[in-house]
């Protein structure tokens, strides 16, 4: 009996070091511990909190779907859903279009190509809050440099109220988001473009294909897998954006720019209603899943249409 325990221990030790599964488990341990404690568990806890009336400093009780019923009748919540969809759609489309355009330009033979590639990524590297502060100053209601230029050109007669008017505010935050997102789309698509052999384009050109035909029949189809991945990321991060809005408008004016993420923060932290905030966050999950599924299945269908076997 006395010798059994050490033998067993050493056999577990041996299993951990010798077998593939033991070793895998051992190596996975640190990452798994972090992700289970601070990602999986909070994700579940968040869903649970959405069913409670927890407030800051006071643990709540289970109240079923009450938070969701409450949100269903809340016009501000629906406004935030509308804003989030508008923000995501418009910003993603613009980021895709402009990013692809920039990628196509950078794919040409240019002097100092590496230099351009490097400086164009700067908006993506600089912390969002800090560049958003620069936009805040650019959008100043009195001393906006944009208003100054437009007034000097005689195009407008008084400063534009960028962040004070609902629609202007929406357009302004979208513009700032597009500014930040273009580099990522452009550089990633550029990587995709560089894998397309030049000879395909040349052959098509010799056969009399116009530049537009070459773009739609060769470039786009070959680029579509990478487009799907890039746009999944882009849509996902735009949909859950928080920083830009928080810096520029904090959801105002009159909730016109509240996204679901900022509304969730607003209700949970300054508002103290953790349960309700969590419910709004949980309400984002179906949209996120839809975005992921859409792009993955879109990609699969594309492959299937092209008759790829892999």
């Amino acid at each position: 009996m006395a010798g059994a325990a050490p033998t067993r221990l050493s056999s577990i030790y041996g299993w951990l070091l010798e077998s593939k599964n033991g070793l895998g488990l051992l190596f996975m341990l640190p990452a798994a511990a972090f992700l289970l404690c601070f990602l999986t568990y909070p994700l579940g806890l968040g869903v649970w909190l959405g069913f409670t009336d927890t407030k800051i400093g006071r643990s709540g009780i289970f109240i079923g779907l009450e938070n969701y019923e409450w949100l269903f009748d809340d016009p501000i919540f629906w406004l935030s859903v509308y804003n989030t969809l508008l923000y995501t759609t418009v910003a993603s489309v613009l980021k895709f279009g402009l990013g692809l355009w920039l990628a196509l330009i950078l794919n040409q033979h240019l002097p100092f190509k590496n230099f351009f590639r490097a400086i164009i990524l700067l908006p993506w590297v600089v912390p969002t809050v800090l560049s958003a502060l620069a936009f805040w100053w650019i959008y100043d209601s009195q001393f906006s440099i944009i208003s100054y230029v437009l007034m000097n050109l005689g195009l407008i007669s008084e400063p534009i109220n960028f962040l004070g008017d609902p629609n202007n505010a929406r357009a302004s935050v979208i513009a700032a988001n597009v500014w930040r997102g273009i580099p990522f789309v452009a550089i990633s698509l550029l990587a995709g473009l560089q894998t397309i052999p030049q000879s395909l384009n040349e052959a098509a050109a010799l056969d009399g294909a116009t530049p537009w035909q070459r773009f739609t029949k060769i470039t786009l189809p070959l680029l579509s897998p990478i487009i799907a991945v890039v746009m999944t990321f882009s849509v996902l991060f735009t949909f859950t954006d928080f920083q830009l809005i928080y810096v520029l408008t904090r959801g105002g004016p009159v909730n016109a720019t509240h996204l679901m993420a900022t509304l969730s923060f607003q209700r949970a932290i300054p508002g103290g209603q953790l349960g309700e905030g969590a419910a709004i966050a949980v309400a984002m999950i179906p949209f996120l899943l839809a975005a992921i599924l859409f792009s993955f299945f879109g990609l699969q269908r594309r492959k299937w249409q092209q008759g790829a076997s892999d």
């Binding site: 600089v126 395909l200 966050a281």
Partner: protein, 299 residues
């Protein structure tokens, strides 16, 4: 048929001049250089505006009649001095640095093991684990911060830098693991096999064979993790309440913006100084950054 052309290595290394002969110089100017100039201008202008505001004396800031807003007449370091000597800014810089370095280090360590296990040990369920790691990266902080705040509070680390050091790896580990998995895949199996035959243990293989070869991958993962931590905002905003524990993005936004009087000079210096560390790091390792970014997407 087109598939064959793509996989043909000779076709890829085709004559680089390509279709250039078809376009004339003016056309190129309109189609390539002009739009590129506009893109570069728009993408860089906010930084120029940030920089110029940071060194502009206060009386010039809002006086567009006497001074052109586009340049500075008598540049001043007053805003930066104010920031460094009369606010908690140096402390915020230190906090951000500490938190970023610590969470990057932890994440790299955990990711190297995880990526090696998934990619090379090939334990049962390695593929599924890899997929789960990828999915973990897609879970956004803006749906995790409420329960995390709850946990952080209950564990008793609310309003401490430790709260950030422990939570940042949730988005860093998935990203780094994913990046390193791709990198490990490019290291030939044969190297490992011959080391195994020579009697090396897994640990020796990892530290003596794989890691030295994976240095470029480690550098990219490290820069990315550092940049992502430096950029993080919502956790730092939620978990930290006292001024001395704040990070740069949170500190600048919550402590330098007072009431209705915006000290644009100080704010822009704060934004500029806070961006410098990541920009400097980025400029040294720009190729790693670009290749890992594109590599991560292509995987």
């Amino acid at each position: 048929m087109s598939r064959q052309t793509i996989s043909d290595p000779i076709a890829v290394n085709d004559d680089v001049q390509g279709l250039d002969q078809f376009s004339t110089l003016t056309r190129r100017l309109m189609v390539v250089y002009l739009p590129l100039a506009v893109f570069v201008f728009v993408l860089l202008f906010p930084f120029y505006w940030m920089a110029i505001t940071a060194i502009k004396p206060d009386h010039q800031l809002s006086n567009y009649r006497e001074y052109s807003p586009f340049w500075v007449v008598q540049p001043t370091l007053d805003h930066i001095k104010y920031l460094l000597f009369e606010t908690s800014y140096p402390g915020w810089l230190w906090n951000t640095m500490l938190v970023s370095v610590a969470s990057t280090f932890i994440s790299l360590l955990a990711s190297v093991f995880a990526a090696y296990a998934i990619e090379r040990v090939r334990f049962t369920g390695a593929r599924v684990t890899g997929l789960l790691i990828f999915l973990a990266y897609l879970v956004p902080p803006s749906i995790l911060f409420i329960p995390l705040a709850f946990i952080v509070f209950q564990v008793g680390i609310f309003d401490s830098r430790l709260a950030l050091i422990l939570t940042y790896p949730t988005f860093l580990i998935p990203f780094c693991t994913w990046l390193l998995m791709g990198y490990f895949r490019t290291i030939p199996f044969e190297l490992e096999e011959s080391a195994l035959v020579d009697g090396a243990t897994r640990w020796q293989i990892l530290t003596k064979v794989i890691l030295p070869l994976a240095v470029p991958g480690l550098i990219s993962a490290g820069i990315f993790a550092f940049t992502l931590s430096w950029n993080e905002f919502i956790y730092a905003l939620t978990f930290i309440s006292s001024s001395e524990n704040k990070t740069v993005p949170v500190g600048v936004l919550t402590e330098l913006v007072r009431g209705d009087i915006y000290e644009w000079g100080a704010l822009m210096s704060g934004a500029l100084l806070g961006s410098l560390p990541v920009v400097i790091l980025y400029s040294f390792f720009v190729d790693y950054y670009v290749s890992s970014m594109t590599g991560a997407v292509k995987e």
